[in-house]
Amino acid sequence: MSLDKLKQIITDVMKEVDVVIGYKQGFDPLHATPCFITKPEQVDQVIWNPLCVQNLASYLTSLKKKVGVIVKGCDSRTIVQFMQEGLIDRSKVVVIGIPCTGVVSVRKVLEKVKHEPIEEVKFSDDGMVIVKTPSGETKMALSEVAPDKCETCQYPTPVLYDHLAGEPITSTKDPQSVFKDIEEFDKKSLEEKKAYWEKEFDRCIRCYACRNACPMCVCQDSCIAESREPHWVSQKSNLTEKMMFHMIHALHLAGRCVECGECERACPMGIPVNKLKRKINSDMKVLFGYEPGVKPEDKPPMFTFSVEEKNIEEHKL
């Protein structure tokens, strides 16, 4: 995909919208940051490379204007899910899709270069990332430092778009193994799983970055994690309350999580927050054959029912 073509599309889209959301270079060579383009001269700031990790569709529900938005395959599912839930007016959104060959996990790159200051980041055509630090250049394969979601990506090309910057790509990842990690984890003993989550959630500082970064967390300021009416969680900072918050997050996303991974990326404490939601998604698939954010005409399974549930059997004691 050429950046020039993307810029051309943005320039065209600008004519019919109030703002186009894209990416520009962030505070250091390893970070990209969202940019809100309202003037033609800003188009030149736009970049596109594997550092463009943020899910820009997250902004759609809070914007009242007519918006053009750049989406990767995974991000596009957010828009489809918004449509299923009637959360956006599709006529006010122009979707600029980018076929994506994978992004980087900043955390994984930093781990590779031992958290040294980043001086330069380059991407080669053969899928390598070259990172320059004071102690020299480190070369790593993009696949090595990609976030987990890229490893099983089924939708490299956006599932929905008005403009596509580039040629569509089809996934080479086995659709059967999307939830392999979840299945593997579930095989562990109850004690192991309990210990795992206790250790992970204990780090939580309840900063709500996971929630606020989540495109599907529609409540935002009204989140029950902070309210007294209803009073689901106290202000105590113990494991129970932390777990409770994460269960609220997970259960409110049941059958809605599009697995963009923003929650996990946003967490400053490195908690695998998306795992719970992916577990529920794997069950949604089994129970209702449902995958969030794929078909705009689908109904999220928790807001509908079948009189006869084919895949739910009555539990015996």
Binding site: I182, F185, D186, L190, E191, E192, K193, K194, A195, Y196, W197, W232, N238, L239, T240, M243, M244, M247, I248, A250, L251, A254, G255, L276, K279, I280, D283, M284, L287, F288, P301, M302, F305, S306, V307, E309, I312, E314, H315, L317
Partner: protein, 143 residues
């Protein structure tokens, strides 16, 4: 003390007003004896039971949670239990992922006339929970 064990465990029951609460009443009227561990919370409909109530109870000291509503198709509010079924099934599958035995959570359908079924359910579920033992160890209790 409980009939099934030396020490009572904490079991919370969410019962819909129209069927299962009535079923528990019927069991009472018929004097169907049951273990005493269960504490009942009356809700209008199983569809009112947010799975988070179950989580809240399990995280905060309950050893087992039982939810019971009208039989599917028989909901006083016509569809409430259909939603409940989906939500509770989702939760039941999620609990073991968190390391909580899904046997600690049971959801079922009991009508107002099924006193005997209620007795059986309470007895069996209480037995099951006693078999699993307490969910919360003393260490955590201090937290």
């Amino acid at each position: 003390m409980s009939e099934v064990g030396p020490k009572e465990l904490r079991i919370v029951g969410f019962l819909c007003n129209w069927c299962s609460y009535g079923g528990a009443d019927t069991a009472g009227v018929s004097r169907f004896k049951q273990p005493t561990d269960l504490r009942i919370i009356r809700v209008p409909c199983s569809g009112r039971v947010d799975p988070l109530f179950v989580v809240k109870a399990l995280l905060n000291g309950a050893d087992g949670v039982l939810v019971s509503g009208c039989h599917p198709r028989d909901c006083h509010y016509s569809d409430g239990n259909f939603y409940a079924r989906r939500r509770l099934e989702m939760l039941k599958r999620l609990l073991p992922f968190l390391g909580i035995d899904d046997k600690r959570f049971h959801y079922t359908w009991i009508s107002a006339s099924e006193g005997q079924r209620w007795q059986q359910t309470v007895t069996d579920f209480t037995k099951q929970i006693h078999k699993l033992g307490p969910l919360h160890s003393g260490k955590e209790a201090q937290q």
